[in-house]
């Protein structure tokens, strides 16, 4: 099976109100006369998501954007389930940029927050059920029987009374499209107990192409007349070139253009090798910008001071009860301070896009993006045309992890094509990809917990000083609309599942002019670490085992269950010679959509001489609501655990004079095969709705490892990542 980007333009004709409140747009042919024609006249299109060819091949147009998380199989699978499709006849096509394919919660075409399946759960099922109903109605006409006498089996309508059957392809070839698409009510959806595809480990449709080299990423796209280009972006956000050796660069072999842009120097030529070689010879001076004096070492100490200083007010994003009053009456207040460093996405496919800005005012773009709507709109702005003049070919991403929700590389390709007057494939070298990294914020935390005489937490205050992400990613207006709450940085700072009546979390902004982005796991990656280390400290004060303590303090039965299960899986109370275990709870989600949950246990040892931590084994019990594709969920959980280990032990970006100091995988190391622990994952099903999966198991790793190291040494690791020097420092 292949994935292609459809070129069909959609005309919205009938609107159907989905039960989630989503407005689904459906489309047929473009004129009134077409609407009464056979489905075959409109390419077998039943609605915006389903097309059926006369040979029975079903094309599911998927609004899910694939970056490795498997959603471009699991979302079509949900549609196929309700359609009662024969999965072996299903082809998946990535949706074009069109309002019909907006994410129902995000209201734009975007894949973030592990929310794809959750957001599309009812709308996708409704679309599948609607397409099935269209086929049933058409079959009733063809067979001249009441529709109530018809049922379906995979890709076939059955009239049991007469024993007649019609294949979906046959119906699509013969039947007329209805004037109006049938409305599907929630009660018409298939009962969950009757699912035959969902929950059954259907093979991912992209696996063969990804095992043969046939999968096409944006970096592989071509178009006639294409040349190559790269962008040397100013090292500091908001800066740009003051001067550059453009004459020298232009004279390099194979180079056809050098452009001083406001924010960067662009170089184009006839091969990427020539362009990269010329890039290395570029000498530019850059204008000063607000971040030009930023040093992460200095700033970290300032962030810590700000987190500590109660007079420094931040934005209170979470507030329950009366934290300050209860804290003042607590028998004892325990406090902890922690920091986390900037980190880089390190997606394996460096940023790139192919853009063709044409003389006729149309623009075509090939790119991998988590936000196609924004890619189209920003490309239009850069080219100076209306958005409808831009066609975006949405490509498979060689990793996204939040980074490809930013689309500046698309704009760069458009600017180069516009300047060169030719299609340009813009590719960043890895060095430039690192240099222009959009970072997860650096953070400094101070947590104060007021406890009663028995050690029970009564009031919890979490202050963290950190850069912001929302104003840079979405714009200042979004931040204002959210009353100043940066939900990306805030994620995971609340403790709704623990029995803590008074809780306040406060974000002190550190606007240092850094480029920032959502990073896999978002705020939970830096916020859950201090929270879960403090929970262990509470357990020690209470004189209880850390697993037992969590089970007692967690008030939510699902939360208790993931801890119970992971404690059981890991045989948590059994002592290991020379090693120790640490445990942590983690969650991912938003109150209105629900939370998935994870219990994580890490088994570690430590070489005290070198300060090197070894993580031998990880156990993870996850509650993901309804598991749609269990095997893929295990892959995502394991991948996220590995991501968690990598960021816990190794990953760190430092900044000097506003510029990233690291350059490549030599000095920004990510986890390797030999460093990968043994892992055991248990999936718990807890309902009939799929909850977030792709980022869930990251944020439990760091605190589980820190808690294990405490169990070994009696020392708390307070600075992430836990590099050998820092571990040695903590032990000294």
């Amino acid at each position: 099976m292949t994935t292609t980007s459809t070129t069909t333009s959609l005309s919205r004709r009938t609107l159907l109100q989905g039960s989630s409140g989503l407005t689904l747009a459906f489309a047929f042919g473009v004129t009134t006369s077409d609407e009464t024609a056979a489905f075959s006249a409109s390419g077998g299109r039943l609605n915006a998501f389903v097309k059926i060819a006369p040979d029975g091949v079903i094309t599911i147009v998927s609004p899910a954007l694939e970056m490795g998380q498997g959603v471009n199989t699991s979302l079509p699978l949900i549609i196929a389930e309700e359609l009662d499709a024969d999965w072996s006849k299903v082809k998946v096509e990535t949706a074009p940029v069109a309002e019909a394919y907006n994410h129902p919660i995000l209201r734009t075409q975007m894949v973030v927050g592990s929310l794809t399946l959750r957001g599309f759960w009812i709308p996708a099922r409704t679309a599948g059920a609607q397409a099935r109903q269209v086929l049933l109605d058409a079959a009733a006409t063809l067979l001249n029987v009441p529709v109530t006498e018809l049922t379906t089996e995979p890709s076939t309508v059955v009239h049991a009374a007469s024993g007649r059957k019609l294949g979906y392809g046959e119906i699509a070839a013969k039947a007329k499209a209805p004037d109006k698409l049938p409305e599907i009510k929630p009660e018409q959806l298939k009962p969950v107990a009757q699912f035959r595809l969902i929950g059954k480990d259907v093979a991912r449709h992209d696996i063969v192409a990804k095992s043969t080299g046939a999968m096409t990423y944006a970096i592989d796209a071509t178009t006639p007349g294409m040349i190559y280009g790269t962008i040397a972006r100013a090292p500091v956000r908001g800066s740009g070139p003051a001067s550059a050796n453009t004459d020298e660069i232009r004279s390099q072999p194979g180079i056809s253009g050098v452009y001083l842009l406001d924010h960067a120097v662009g170089i184009v030529g006839d091969s990427i090798a020539a362009v990269f070689a010329a890039r290395q010879k570029l000498k530019a001076t850059w204008r000063d910008a607000p971040g030009s004096n930023m040093s992460s070492e200095t700033a970290r100490a300032e962030y810590q001071a700000d987190a500590r200083n109660a007079d420094k007010k931040g934005t209170v994003g979470r507030n329950t009860g009366d934290t300050n009053a209860v804290m003042a009456t607590a028998a004892k207040v325990i406090s902890g301070e922690f920091t986390t460093d900037y980190v880089y996405h390190a997606q394996m496919e460096p940023h790139n896009a192919l853009a063709d800005v044409r003389a006729d005012g149309t623009v075509e773009v090939w790119t991998g993006t988590q936000w196609p709507t924004r890619a189209r709109d920003d490309a239009a702005k850069a080219a100076g045309v209306a958005p409808e003049k831009v066609k975006v070919n949405v490509m498979q991403m060689g990793g996204g992890y939040g980074r490809r929700a930013s689309v500046e590389y698309v704009v760069d390709a458009v600017l180069l094509s516009k300047a060169a007057g030719k299609p340009v494939k813009m590719i960043l070298s890895r060095e430039d990809d690192v240099a222009t990294a959009r970072l997860r914020p650096m953070t400094a935390h101070k947590i104060d917990i007021g406890v009663d005489a028995a050690g029970k937490p009564l009031a919890w205050r979490h202050r963290f000083a950190a850069d912001t992400v929302v104003p840079y990613l979405y714009g200042p207006a979004r931040m204002e609309a959210q009353k100043g709450v940066d939900h990306i940085v805030f994620a995971g700072a609340d403790v709704p599942f623990y029995d803590v009546a008074n809780h306040q979390a406060e974000h002190i902004y550190e606007e240092r002019g850094m480029r920032t982005a959502a990073w896999r796991g978002i705020g939970a990656g830096h916020n859950n670490y201090p929270i879960e280390v403090m929970i262990d400290e509470l357990a020690r004060i209470a004189g209880q085992d850390p697993a037992d303590y969590r089970i007692a303090l967690l008030k939510d039965p699902r939360a208790k269950r993931v801890i119970e299960r992971v404690a059981d899986l890991s045989d948590f109370k059994r002592k290991r010679e020379g090693r120790a275990l640490g445990i942590a709870f983690a969650k991912l989600g938003l109150p209105p959509v629900g939370f998935s949950m994870a219990g994580t246990v890490a088994e570690v040892s430590l070489d005290r001489a070198s300060g090197k931590i070894k993580i031998h084994e990880l156990w993870c019990a996850v509650d993901v609501g309804l598991p749609v594709q269990p095997s893929n969920i295990v892959a995502q959980i394991e991948g996220s655990l590995i991501w968690g280990v990598s960021s816990t032990l190794k990953e760190r970006i430092t900044v000097k004079n506003g510029a990233v100091e690291q350059t490549n995988f030599s000095d920004y190391e990510i986890l390797r095969q030999s460093e990968t622990p043994q892992m055991s994952v248990e999936i718990i099903r807890s309902g009939d709705i799929p909850l977030p999966v792709g980022e869930l198991s990251i944020s439990g790793v760091t605190p589980a490892v820190a808690n294990a190291v405490f169990a070994l040494t009696g020392k708390t690791l307070r600075q992430m990542p836990f590099t050998p020097e820092r571990v040695k420092g903590a032990l000294a």
């Binding site: 592989d220 090798a273 997606q347 590995i642």
Partner: protein, 152 residues
């Protein structure tokens, strides 16, 4: 600019470039063999791994000129008439996530099985350690290599 005669995936082909033109870009841009990926350009990640005379090399660090007179094999030429045992195993284990590093992983693994048909897990991990995967597909890569060794 010079022209180099190469043997790629069993076919005689010509590429142009200078003495330093990386094999990676000649394969991708001139021969349209885009299964071989650019990841770091510095021999650090393994996404560009191909075989030259059966030896896994980083094509970003190998000049096209140096491959003259040698047999170059890319992911597209690994399974000649059908899928290679490793590709079948990769599919069975559903190893890829984003998939970008996987051509390089498979080529590196093919070198191992060429020399050591029944590797131990330790041999697999040691051999594959230079090939990075950001999605964290390492456990399934290991399992796929073990499966290919078993099922051949």
């Amino acid at each position: 600019m010079a022209t180099y005669d190469l043997a790629v995936n069993g076919k005689a082909v010509k590429v142009t470039g200078d003495a330093t033109t990386p094999l990676l870009w000649a394969l991708r841009e001139q021969l349209n063999l885009t299964g071989t990926k650019y990841g770091c350009g510095a021999g650090l990640c393994g996404a560009c791994t191909v075989h030259v005379d059966g030896v896994a090399v980083r094509s970003c660090q190998t000049s096209a000129a140096s491959a003259v007179g040698k047999k170059v094999t890319t992911i597209e030429g690994l399974g000649t008439s059908a899928l290679h045992a490793l590709q079948k195993a990769w599919i069975a284990e559903e190893a890829p996530q984003c998939g970008y590093c996987q051509s390089g992983q498979i080529m590196k693994a093919a070198e191992l099985l060429g020399k050591t048909p029944k590797p131990t897990r330790e041999q697999i991990v040691a051999h594959m350690d230079g090939n990075l995967c950001r999605c964290g597909s390492y456990p399934r890569i290991t399992r796929a290599i073990e499966r290919a060794a078993r099922e051949g």
